[in-house]
Point group: C2
């Protein structure tokens, strides 16, 4: 029983922390299906893998139809969704990706496409809601042992902004002082030496930081397990 | 250009730390190809996905042909290898898995199958050598921020044995005292209260430990990022 009738598709959960009514919220990019099956439900961007491309190439090609991919600061492969009955009709295996867009970027979107808060998703198509939940879990895990927040943060930011990004991505409150201490000790953050313009309520202008690197790395190996340098 | 002629296969890199000439070595399970293509080269266990099974089911089914899967203490999905030209002929997309077998288990193997040290692989078929390298990198990363070593260790062990497992899996030396301190502080290890039989050179019999859990978890979240309990 080989699988020559099976199609292979790519789906990407693109996340961005966005202000909604002035509250930072983790949002995901979805498009509304105009045709059956699942007309009116919201889908992740993606599509069928072409014969001449590998999966990351396909993910980037398909994203260009929905969003300026130069805004996607990080893209990584997640699980494969391979339940034989995950969609009606011919079998479709879905390789899924996580994409991240920094706070403040505002890419132009096609009319059928919009950002939705992960905490209040509209009706999603097929198993796309499960893919979103899976991608969010991966993001939350990686926030705790890597520098992945570089891809959600603007180039320079006050600690209060970074705290908002972590809170929105994790879905619970974290303390800015602890965050600064931990990320500083791990060499993840660098002070730029500059300060932000004073806030609307006055007060001391906050110091600005940036991420030391804009490539993913594990930041908290066991000290005992670091390779000899 | 849909991809209806594409096959989908599953490949699993099964690792075990084994004593070779009394030296612990990270080994991988391979079988020797009796037919072309790549006759005489060594392959990872796997095969074509069936229409009625998902990927983890397929990986377990295919492993049963090579090894008693009850010995596989951990199985997780790795990347998809999707280069259109990764094998000759019709396109085959490979979903890869990492499997781990505890030290000391000695499953019966079919005649074409053997354990090979990862540091001295024979000629491997297609891109299977790259899959092995990728799986080993994932294992080393997870050793540093999870309890994944539970799946490489016997049920109870002296710290000197656990150190040997870490050294073999990572490919460099680690210190047993540091290892014990870090894993103890993180609640990963539990002392059983028992001691091992005295070694062949006498001396104080070593204390025995076990892993607190035999399911994968991230052990070193940023303290600042732990969810409220």
């Amino acid at each position: 029983m080989p699988n020559g009738n099976t199609l292979h598709e790519v789906l990407t959960a693109v996340f961005q922390v966005r202000k909604i009514d002035d509250n930072p919220e983790l949002c995901v990019l979805l498009w509304e299906r105009a045709l059956d099956p699942e007309r009116g439900a919201w889908s992740l961007p993606g599509g069928v893998l072409r014969d001449d491309e590998d999966l990351p190439t396909s993910a980037r090609r398909q994203l260009t139809e929905k969003v300026d991919v130069r805004e996607v600061a990080h893209l990584e492969q997640l699980s494969v969704f391979s339940d034989p009955r995950r969609v009606p009709g011919a079998r479709v295996i879905a390789s899924t990706f996580l994409g991240l867009v920094p706070l403040g970027a505002d890419p132009v979107l096609p009319p059928d496409t919009a950002w939705h808060p992960v905490s209040a998703l509209p009706r999603t198509a097929f198993d796309h809601g499960v893919v979103v939940a899976h991608a969010r879990t991966r993001l939350a895990a990686k926030l705790s042992y890597t520098n992945i927040a570089f891809a959600l943060a603007p180039a320079e930011f006050a600690m209060s902004t970074l705290r908002e990004i972590y809170c929105a991505a994790l879905g619970y409150q974290v303390d800015a002082t602890n965050l600064q201490r931990v990320l500083g000790r791990r060499g993840v953050l660098v002070a730029t030496g500059a300060t932000a313009p004073p806030g609307r309520f006055g007060g001391r202008p906050p110091a600005l930081y940036r991420f030391a690197e804009s490539r993913l790395r594990v930041t908290d190996e066991f000290a005992a397990l670091r390779p000899p340098s």
